[in-house]
Amino acid sequence: MTLPLDPALLARLQFAFTISFHILFPAFTIGLASWLAVVEWRWLKTGDETYRDVYRMWVKIFAVTFGMGVVSGIVLSYQFGTNWSVFADKVGNVLGPLLGFEVLTAFFLEASFLGIMLFGWNRVTPKMHFAATVIVASGTLVSAFWILSANSWMQTPQGFFIGDDGLYYPLNWLAIIFNSSFPYRMIHMVVAAYLTTAFAVSGVGAFYLYRKKFTDQAKVMFGMAMLMAIFVAPLQLLFGDLHGLNTFKEQPVKVAAMEGLWETQKGAPLVLFGWPDEESEATRFAIEIPKVSSLILTHHPDGEVRGLKEWPADRRPPVAPVFWSFRIMVGVGIMMILTGVLALFLYFRKRLFDCPWFHRWCMLMTPAGFIAVLSGWFVTEIGRQPYIVYNSLLTSESISPVAGIHVGLSLIAFIIIYGLVFGAGIYYIIRLVQKGPVPETETPYGGHGIEAPPLFSDVVTPKGEDHV
């Protein structure tokens, strides 16, 4: 049994808490940045002020969430050392450059052009402002590229060797960066981020439609979000399936935990629900569909799926959290696809923007993406345990020489501060939503921060609505 102050467990809890908190913001801002770029492009292209109002409302929400993402991300770049110093020492040669590239190619880019995106109205030309939005959006994707590459390497490590000193050394950078699970994880996560944003935006749009406020702007939000639900949500099922097949090949024990399968069998059933019990090594009260698990994973009804008992008990991940998180993720995904189907149906009935029950449903779906993203990460990260680098380095052998009490106290401090920050952030976002996309009466480029030098609009005649 572990003691309550087991430093390894506390270090994991702390890291899980800070990284779960952090991932909520990128999951939203990756999609939001790209969407804002599209909205601004539409505005420049059509001159329709509706797009401008939508942009200027959501860019404020973007600023709040991006700010929270930045500060919670800085924490992580130091926690590799504070919580996992042995890991940092051992794999620094391999993972260090990947994280270094993230800072060099993405963080500076995002941070610098965010300033222009938020405060640059009137200071730069509309085209330059649009470019800043696009650059920020690309920055979020480049950042995702590097960090997901690093994470994927921990899942499917390759292209390295372990020296006599026990340290990891790089052999082939391309193999390290483009490791086996990376392409799947990258696509799955970026699409997840897009869907998260789509459902958050659609929730707000549905709220306005339901209340019959800001109808024009709400149609832009809701319509564009429903396009994502209709076309992208089903695609995500496909990407997720491909990712799952890769996991089945590379990390079969994780898949066994996801499926709640204990015995190796041909024609393995799909366990819909049940209670995975690690004591008795069985999934109790299981509701199963025969042979479907084999069909999904091996594309053959009698294919062999290895069960958890193939691995010694101390080399299996905690089964119940993986099993349940996976079901939550898939369940939310199915609800997203259903939303898309309903939207398509209503669209052909010409009732998409005039259907209160559906708008209520979409309001309920606002946090859907966040729930799916978090549970998806729980599946993949808890599923990698007990290893920190899969099949190579144990989590318990990677922790820092810091006493449990200090990790515990700092965990409490993180919970309090993050709770405060998160609460305030949600409060201000709700206030921004309540205020809504109010058409602003000032000059098209609105308020700005700094007086001299002359504003762009003072030098060039403002083209107002038709500036392209």
Partner: protein, 339 residues
């Protein structure tokens, strides 16, 4: 696998690069942390708005240099990163919490009104103060050395806490506040500028005093540093730094009297640079004083080589667009709402 090991001194280049990144962080986030330290003392809320507005477009980019410092240390010198982070566990966590609080205060204060706006102003101050104090304490503890056994930190959780590190913490608070005040002289007008000038004059003496104290303590505390600095040959070269500091201080004083707006900020940056080089010379070649040198801590040559390509291509680009952003937002700050 490629490596530049045979052509260039990789660890030395990376030592210089990480050193530069940390120094850029000190300069850039230094002035915006300084504004947080000065924040509640501003004469009016309008002044506070101007102060915050003057750094709002930059703080995020400035803080990225801290990620560069931490991430770069992890990438180029993983052993040093793995020893120093547990050694400074408590102050690092406190610094991060402080940075979180002040970072979100920007966004929240813009959106808040009346009482809650005031409250976020105090949170901004508190976060900046804690972050600065802990950074100064980490520096103070760093120069005193770190206990290491094998490849891990082997000291106690509170090794970093002593009279000297408390003093360097307070010294850095004064130093950042001075940078912040000089930035405000440059970026504001009227009442705010007048007040900032007064602050600069006041902080000026504190910073000079603390610098004197630190310069006195370090050779007294450590024989290596004493021998290094007071070796007759070295002393001739090294005295350039204290002498130029004095000249810079004198120039700042003149500028304050002549109401020069732009120069003091850059002069004070010069003073910071001289001090930074002084600390670098004193701790050379240690990356974990006085146990692990930067050569011992270096990552594999292949890793340092790969990242060097990235740094050589990207750093000039980063510096160029950082400069572009400062150019876009040049001129005096206003109290108007942001975006």
């Amino acid at each position: 696998m490629f490596s530049f090991e045979g052509f260039i001194d990789l660890p030395l280049i990376w030592y210089a690069l990480i050193g530069t990144a940390i120094f850029l962080y000190v300069l850039l986030d230094g002035f915006d942390l300084g504004i947080g330290i000065l924040f509640p003392f501003a004469p009016s809320e309008k002044c506070q708005d101007r102060m915050m507005q003057s750094i709002a477009p930059f703080w995020d980019g400035n803080e990225t240099w801290l990620v560069m410092g931490g991430g770069g240390l992890f990438a180029a010198f993983p052993l040093a990163y793995a020893i120093l982070m547990p050694a400074f566990y408590i102050p690092v966590i406190l610094m991060l919490l402080g940075l979180i609080l002040r970072g979100v205060s920007f966004e929240f204060r813009f959106k808040a009104h009346d009482r809650s706006k005031k409250r976020w102003g105090y949170v901004f101050h508190l976060g900046s103060l804690v972050a600065t104090l802990t950074q100064g304490m980490i520096l103070g503890a760093f120069v005193q050395g770190v206990s290491v056994t094998g490849r891990t930190f082997s000291g106690g959780a509170f090794d970093w806490l002593n009279a000297f590190s408390v003093m360097t913490g307070v010294a850095l608070v004064a130093g950042y506040a001075l940078l912040g005040a000089a930035w405000l002289i440059m970026k504001t007008e009227d009442v705010t500028q007048e007040w900032a000038r007064k602050c600069t004059g006041y902080l000026f003496w504190h910073v000079a005093l603390f610098m004197g104290l630190v310069s006195l303590c370090m050779p007294i505390m450590d024989t290596r540093i004493r021998e290094l600095w007071f070796d007759p040959v070295n002393f001739t070269f090294l005295s350039v730094m204290p002498v130029s500091c004095m000249v810079l201080f004198w120039m700042v004083w003149q500028d304050l009297r002549n109401k020069n707006e732009y120069r003091p900020f850059f002069l004070i940056q010069g003073i910071f640079l001289m001090n930074y080089i002084g600390i670098g010379v004193s701790t050379w070649p240690w990356l974990v004083p006085y146990r692990v040198t930067f050569r011992d801590a270096a990552a594999a040559a292949e890793s340092q080589s790969l990242l060097l390509i990235g740094a050589v291509i990207m750093l000039p680009v980063v510096l160029a667009y950082t400069g572009y952003c400062y150019w876009i937002f040049r001129g005096k700050s206003s109290h108007e709402t942001s975006y």
